[in-house]
Amino acid sequence: MIMPDRNYHESSRAHVTGAALYADDISNIGNLLHGCVQASTLARGTLCALNLERVRQSPGVVAVLTAADVPGVNDLSHLPDGGGEPLFIEKEIVSEGQAVFAVIADSLDNARQAAKLAVVEVEPSSAVITINQAIDADSKIAPSRKIKVGDSTRAIDNSAFQINGSLYTGGQEHFYLEGQISIAIPKESGAMTVIASTQHPSEIQSTLALLLGVSSNSVTVQTRRIGGGFGGKESQGSLCAGVAAIAAQLTSQPVKVRLDRDQDMIMTGKRHDFRIDYKAGFDNDGLIRGVSLDYASRCGHSLDQSKAVNDRALLHADNAYYLENATLTSHRYHTNTTSNTAFRGFGAPQGMLGIERVIEEIAFTLQQDPLDIRLANLYRTPNRSVTPYGQEFDSKVLVRIIGELTEHSEYRSRRKKIRRFNQGSPVIKKGIALTPVKFGISFTAIHLNQAGALLHIYRDGSVQLNHAGVEMGQGLHTKILRIVQDILTIERSDIRIMATNTEKIPNTSPTAASAATDLNGMAAASAATVLHDRLIKVASHRLDLPEAELSLSDGFLHTGDKPIMSFNELVNEAYLQRVSLFATGFYRTPDINFDPDSFTGSPFYYYANGAAVSEVEVDLLTGEHKVNRVDILHEVGQSLNEEIDKGQIEGGFIQGMGWLTMEELVWNDQGVLQTHSPSTYKIPTCRERPSIVNIDLLRDAPNQVESIYRSKAVGEPPLMLSISVLHALSDAISSVANYRICPQLNVPATPEHILESVQRVEKLGLASV
C-alpha cells in the first residue's frame, strides 16, 4: 500500500531560492548566439521581395536565415500528410505572426536592432479572419466529422417544444509564464543537442531531424522543467527549436531563441474559438428527445492538432447527458490567423458548452431549475448509458458527486435566497449554477497511449530515474518519484529525477491529455518492480532463503519483520553477483479502441468526473461581475498526492474561469492581433479569485480500472468545472426579466457581453409581457 502523503513538489526548495533552472537560465554555454525571429505583420498576401543586406551588415550579426537556409524540409507540421506549416514563409503569407526571417547575433539586442533594418515587400490579398467569414467562404481545412445516433430531425420535430440558437466561444492565450524558448548546441559529427521548453521532446526531435535533413539519432532534446505549458508547448516549441538548430548548424555555435512575450502571443497558436449552432426538441419532462449540435471552429492557417482537438470536442458534445437522438457535427475552418492548437481540455470545454446551453434553454422554457433538467438528462445505467460514439459510461460516481455537492453546497436553499435577494436589489443581481463534468481519459490517437521509463541504481544505492513525461508544474515528477519510492522503499532524497531526454527514452508521447501520470507512472512502476524483483532474487541466492520470505521495506531487506541488510548493501551485493542494476519499463493503455472514420469505439480508458456550484453577482450598470463562492467536488480516484490534485483543480478552475469570463482575443479586420501583451490581454489575477473556494476530493472512490494505484488523471477535467460560472452569470442576468428569457450569453462573458445580454433579456422580457 502506498505510503502516507507528505511529499511536496520535488523542486520547490530550488524554486523558492531561484536555483531551479529553466532553459533561459542555463548560462554556462560558451559563444552563445541569440536569435530574433521577424514575423509577418500581414495576415494574407505574397512575399514579393526580401532585402536583408542592411540586416547582415548590422553590428554583431552572425547569420540571417530565410526559407532558403533550411537544409532539410521547411515544414513544422509534423503530420504524415504534410500540414503545410513552413518554418519560414517561402512566398505565400497565410497568417500574421508567420516567420519571415531570423537574425542571429552576438546579443539579443543586436539581433533585434538588425531585424528592423529589413526591407520586406508584400502584396496583400483578402484574408479570412473570423469564423463567420470562414463559414461564408466555406474554407474547410479538414473534412467535417459527424456522429449520428437515432433520428434527431424527426425526434426534434415530434417534440412538444423546440429551441434553437447559436453560441460563440472565444479562444484563449496560454500565457505560460515562461515563454517559448530553445537553445541548440552543436555537437561532433553533425549531432545537435537542444534544450527546449516543450511538452513534447520527441516531436521537437523528429521535426528538427526533418528541418536539418538528418536522422533522428543525430538530435537529442532535453527538458528538465518548463514554466507552464497548458497545451501551448505541445507542438508550438518547434519554431524556436527549429530556428535555433538551423542557426547552430550553420554557425557551429550554440544559439538561443527566446520569443518576446508579445511575439509569443502573436506567433503561437491558442485555444480554438467556436461557433456552436444548436437545435433541440423536448417534452414537458425536460428530457432531450432530439438534439443537433453544429460545431464550427477556427483552426487558423495550418492543421496543427486541429483534427484531434475537434474530435475531442465532438466526443464531449454529450458532456454528462444521454442523447438518444443526436446529430453532432464538427466543421474545421481554415482562417488567416495563428494556427490554433492544444489547450487544456483540448476541445472538450467547447464541446460541453453546447449541450449545457441546450439544458439551460430547456430550463427557461419549462421554468424549471436547470439542475433538475441536468439530473433528468444525466446518463443512467442500464438504459441510458451509451455515449453517442458507443462507449459505455457508468454514471454512478457522477450521480453521487452531484448528489453530495447539491447537499453540502446547499444549492437548493441558496438558489431560493438568491431569488429573494434579487427581488430587492435593482442593480446587483446574483446567480447560481451547478454544472457537471465527465471527461474521457486517454489520447484518442490510440498509438500515443504508451510510455517508457529507465531506472538506474548505482553501487551506493542511489537511483536515477528517467521517464517520458515533462514536468510543467502539474507535479508529475513528484508523483512518479513517490511511486518508485514506494516500490523500492527508499527515501525520496535517494532518487534523482533526471531531465526528460530523448537520449534516455525514445519515441515519447506528448505530456498531454491529462495522462502523463497514468502512462509514465505505470512505466516507472514497471521498471522499479523489475529491479525490486531482481534484488529479492539476489538476496534469496545469497541468503539461501525462498524469495517469498524476503521483502523490502523502509530501505531494508527483511525476512518477516527482521531487517537483514540495507538497500545499499543489497544493491552492492547484486553488483558483485553481476546482476544488472538498470531496467526499462514500458506501458501501453489496455482496452481502448477508436475508429476515427466511423467515429465509434471506446477511446477512453476511463472517465474523470466532477461538479461545481458557482455563485456570482453582476452589476447591471457596468456589466462587471464577481464570483462570490465556488464549491467543487471532484474525483481523482485514490489520490497519489492530495495537495497536488487540489492544486490542479483550483488552478484549472481559475484558468477555465479566465477563458469564460475575461480573457478576450481581439483581431482587427486585417487579421492583426490587438491583444498581444498582458497589458491588453487579461488573465485572472488574485483579485478575480472567488472569495470562497471549497474544494473536496471524492472520498472512497478508487478508479474502477487498473490505473496507477487506482488514481485518476486530474490535469484537464477541472478546467471545465468553471462552466458553472458562465451559467451562474446567465442565471443572474435572466433575473432582469423574471427568469423567463435565456440570456444566450457568449464567451468570454466580459462586461460588454454581459451588458449586451442584459439588454437583450430586458428587451425580450418587455416584448413578452
Binding site: H15, T17, D24, F175, M472, E643, G651, C686
Partner: protein
C-alpha cells in the same frame, strides 16, 4: 554605439561596481551580467511580476527599471534573501504548502511576499491580495499562494 555608465550598488549584501549601457534594464543586468537567473523574464513590460526584486527594500519590476538607477542603492534578489528567522519560514511555507506549481512566478512571488510582510507583518487576506495583484500565476489559482503568505504572517503573530 551605446553610451555606458559606471554604477556602484549593494547587491545581496555585497558591493558591486559595473559599467553598463544606459539602456540596460535591471533585469538584463541581473540575468546576463551578474548571472543571477532566479529573477525571471516573464513579459518585459511590468505586467507579470516574475522579475520582482527589492530595491532599498521596496518591491520593483526589474524589467521596468534602468540599471543606471541602481547607483548607490541596495538590491535584493531571490538568491540574496538571507537565511534567517524572517525568510526561512517564508521559503519553507512556499516550498511545502503547494504555492509552487511550475515555479516560474515563484521567485517574484517570494520577493513580493517579503515586501508585503515587511510592511504588514500580520498581513490579512485583503492586504495580501492587494500586494500580489501585480504578480501573475497561471498555475495555482492563487489560493495556496495567499494561504502561504498568510500562514507566515500568522507565524509572525505567534513569534
Amino acid at each position: 554605439m551605446s553610451l555606458t555608465h559606471e554604477i556602484k550598488f549593494t547587491l545581496n549584501g555585497s558591493p558591486v561596481s559595473l559599467t553598463i549601457p544606459l539602456t540596460m534594464s535591471v533585469l538584463t543586468m541581473l540575468r546576463d551580467l551578474l548571472n543571477l537567473t532566479g529573477t525571471k523574464y516573464g513579459c518585459g513590460e511590468g505586467e507579470c511580476g516574475a522579475c520582482t526584486i527589492l530595491i532599498d527594500g521596496v518591491s520593483v519590476n526589474a524589467c521596468l527599471k534602468f540599471a543606471v538607477d541602481c547607483d548607490g542603492r541596495t538590491l535584493t534578489t531571490v538568491e540574496g534573501l538571507v537565511a534567517d528567522s524572517r525568510n526561512d519560514p517564508l521559503r519553507t511555507a512556499f516550498a511545502e504548502k503547494g504555492g509552487v506549481q511550475c515555479g516560474f512566478c515563484t521567485p517574484g512571488m517570494v520577493m513580493q511576499a517579503r515586501h508585503i510582510l515587511d510592511n504588514y507583518p500580520r498581513a490579512n487576506e485583503s492586504q495580501i491580495k492587494r500586494g500580489i495583484e501585480g504578480n501573475l500565476c497561471r498555475c495555482t489559482g492563487y489560493k495556496k499562494i495567499i494561504e502561504t503568505i498568510a500562514s507566515v504572517g500568522e507565524l509572525d503573530n505567534k513569534g
